[in-house]
């Protein structure tokens, strides 16, 4: 049972805690791989992409990779979209990420540190 928020101060304390938790994650050197899971993305095959990423994470025991989801950002023409956030580089957004491309992103960008320029979307 979560503690209820009873005032703006409560809300801000909650927010600080959430912020710290997020900070801790990135400080630990974790990499976030975010799949855009709006309906557009799903229609364009985002579930297959997500499955491929999770498979790869499991297979390669990539414990420091956090796979999460977000909504649609409105770049339908580029779906499926995957974002990679690492501690050192800022956010990189990839478009048209097929399962094949997803695996490459994990191998080359997340593990190898090399951004796949051909699939980067300018946002």
């Amino acid at each position: 049972m979560k503690k209820k928020i009873r005032s703006l101060e409560d809300l801000n304390r909650f927010r600080e805690k959430a912020f710290e938790a997020k900070q801790r994650q990135t400080h630990l050197g974790n990499v976030q791989v975010i799949v855009s899971l709006g309906s557009c993305g799903i229609a364009a095959g985002a579930f297959d992409t997500l499955k491929a990423i999770q498979q790869q994470v499991d297979d390669d025991h990539l414990n420091e990779v956090i796979v999460s989801q977000t909504g649609c950002i409105g770049l339908c023409g580029h779906e499926p979209i995957v974002e990679v956030i690492t501690a050192d580089t800022s956010k990189v957004t990839y478009g048209h990420v097929t399962p094949e491309v997803a695996r490459r992103i994990l191998r080359e960008h997340v593990l190898g540190g090399k951004v796949l320029e051909a699939f980067v979307v300018e946002v």
């Binding site: 049972m1 928020i5 809300l11 927010r15 709006g38 989801q69 909504g71 950002i73 770049l75 580029h78």
Partner: protein, 551 residues
């Protein structure tokens, strides 16, 4: 994000081209690159500038400075002085008179060039829609906290009123005024309904908000409830959006767990409950009274209006019905203040507007820009131009119920007032861009078929009108119509738009009307010459079959 600061339009009508417009165009590209401004300034072309002798014409937005005639050697000056330093070059300006009406629109426009400014989509695609932590981390529930602990309901309404927020469902009714109506109407209980039955073809902004930022709708509905004195809210999500339904259900649950929804929100005496409700496939339920009927478990058929939902709504009680996008504006307004909000957009149409760009452009998707952007800007900047280099033929604005804007009108700014004046509907913000390969008869057929299928059947003009119009357009596309059918269509269309019961019937023939206005010749070719110029309609196939046989 790429930030476009200015836009340069070079006239490329036949006369301008004869006087070197193409060279001028390329010179601009060079010079802008030279000054390192390429990712801040867009260069595009404009075809129809009317009959004049000071061509080529160059228009610079957002200042709406019109230069002309521009010679190759003037380009450097304009780029350096105007685009780089920000000073208009008076001696190169064209004379004010004789501007084509389409350009004249732009003269009134002031302010910055529309760049993406995300208010309602500020978190969509950024946060995890299943995580209330993520939402709170990104300013979530600040507005609700402020409203409940620091403001009276009347103050909340006053702030929304002051912001100038207008309903984004299409009609553009001031939200603050709607809320104060319901707040002051006697009768209880009162209800808040979020209209998430987004069914206008080509529109998916609401889905994006619901899927990308569901908590913001929960927060906004609660604020609305507080403002009008309601304790129950319904969110009517169309049946075709199962994911949005799931995410909203989750958001409601999480907010309740944290005491941000339900009983004693933020530890105050105020309680508010939200019930998600899935539709089952009916475009008409986007009409607010049909939506209410449907919520009550009935056929989604519109009620006669008046009475309006503000006095006789859900279960006969005073009810606020707000569209998703409208509600999504509420938390940012309360957080940042009405003054901040008013600075975005044009004076009469404040805030941003979400557009979906679809059709034959290089890039389809969704943008949120301040009110007042032009179609040309949307297509060139955000749509990345026409697909396969084809020519723009028309844009349908506002979904299938919207107007057809021919290419020559593409400089009309997209805001409520200008659009109203031009007889164009902004509607849901869907922009369907069609290139020269589009046959207007074929397009009309698809649109009319949609309305025939989605009409609820309550009123005569719409029920049989949509059927008849579809039958006739089919005959036209098959080469079986006669010219007098156009008159029949016009009569039906007129009766439909004048005396139908609700917006569906009133707008079902809008596209047809515009097509007959701007593209009548093309339609008549189908009838008289039995030819589909674009080669899409069945008669075209028929003809080619005949040709083959003959050959």
């Amino acid at each position: 994000m790429k930030v476009i600061r200015s836009m340069v339009l070079v006239s490329v009508d036949q006369a301008s081209l004869e006087r070197g417009a193409e060279e001028v165009f390329h010179k601009f590209l060079e010079e802008i690159d030279e000054f390192g401004l390429s990712d801040k300034i867009a260069v595009s072309t404009i075809r129809d500038v009317g009959l004049r002798d000071d061509i080529p014409l160059v228009i610079v937005y957002p200042d709406a400075a019109v230069y002309g005639p521009v010679r190759l050697e003037d380009v450097h000056t304009i780029v350096e002085e105007h685009l780089y330093k920000g000073n208009i070059v008076p001696h190169l300006l064209a004379l004010m008179r004789e501007l084509a009406p389409e350009i004249a629109w732009t003269r009134d426009r002031r302010g910055t060039l529309p760049i993406e400014k995300r208010i309602v989509l500020e978190r969509a695609g950024i946060v995890n829609p299943e995580s209330i932590e993520d939402y709170i981390l990104n300013d979530g529930f600040q507005a609700l906290g402020k409203a409940l602990t620091q403001m009276t309901p009347a103050e909340v309404i006053a702030e929304i009123d002051k912001s100038g927020l207008q309903g984004r469902g299409g009609a553009g009714f001031p939200t603050g005024r709607k809320w104060s109506f319901v707040a002051s109407t006697p009768g209880s209980p009162k209800y808040v309904i979020c209209n998430a039955d987004e069914s206008e073809p080509g529109t998916f902004k609401d889905r994006l908000i619901l899927e990308g930022d569901p908590f913001s709708i929960v927060e906004a509905m609660t604020i609305a409830g507080y403002a009008i004195g309601a304790h129950e809210g319904y969110i009517y999500i169309r049946g075709e959006y199962p994911r949005a339904y799931h995410l909203i259900e989750n958001a409601i649950h999480q907010a309740e767990m944290l005491g941000l929804l339900g009983d004693h929100i933020f530890g105050t005496d105020y309680s508010f409950h939200i019930h998600p409700h899935a539709g089952a496939g009916a475009y008409i339920c986007g009409e607010e009274t049909a939506l209410i009927e449907s919520l009550e478990g009935k056929r989604g058929m519109p009620r006669p209006r008046p009475p309006y939902p503000t006095t006789y709504g859900l279960f006969g009680k005073p009810t606020v019905v707000n569209n998703v996008e409208t509600l999504a504006n509420v938390p940012p307004i309360l957080r940042n203040g009405a003054v901040w909000y008013r600075e975005v957009g044009s004076p009469k149409s404040t805030g941003t507007k979400v557009y979906t760009i679809l059709g034959n452009v290089n890039f389809t998707g969704l943008i949120e820009v301040p009110m007042g952007i032009t179609l040309r800007e949307v297509i060139d900047i955000y749509g990345k131009g026409m697909r396969n280099g084809k020519k723009l033929k028309l844009v349908q604005t506002g979904g299938s119920s919207g107007t057809i804007v021919p290419a020559k009108l593409q400089d009309t700014p997209l805001d409520f007032d200008s659009f109203r004046n031009a007889g164009v509907s902004l509607g849901s913000g869907a922009l369907l861009v069609c290139d020269e390969d589009t046959c207007v008869v074929d397009l009309a057929k698809v649109i009319l078929r949609f309305f025939r299928n989605e009409c609820c059947g309550k009123c005569t003009p719409c029920r049989i009108g949509t059927l008849r119009l579809y039958e006739i357009i089919n005959q036209i596309s098959e080469g079986k119509a006669v010219l007098s059918d156009l008159e029949v269509m016009q009569n039906i269309s007129e009766a439909m738009s004048e005396v139908s019961n609700c917006g569906l019937g009133q707008t079902a023939s809008t596209a047809l009307r515009d097509i007959l206005k701007y593209f009548r010749e093309e339609v008549e070719m189908h009838i008289i010459d039995k030819v589909c110029p674009v080669g899409v309609c069945p008669i075209a196939k028929h003809e080619s079959e005949l040709m083959q046989k003959a050959g």
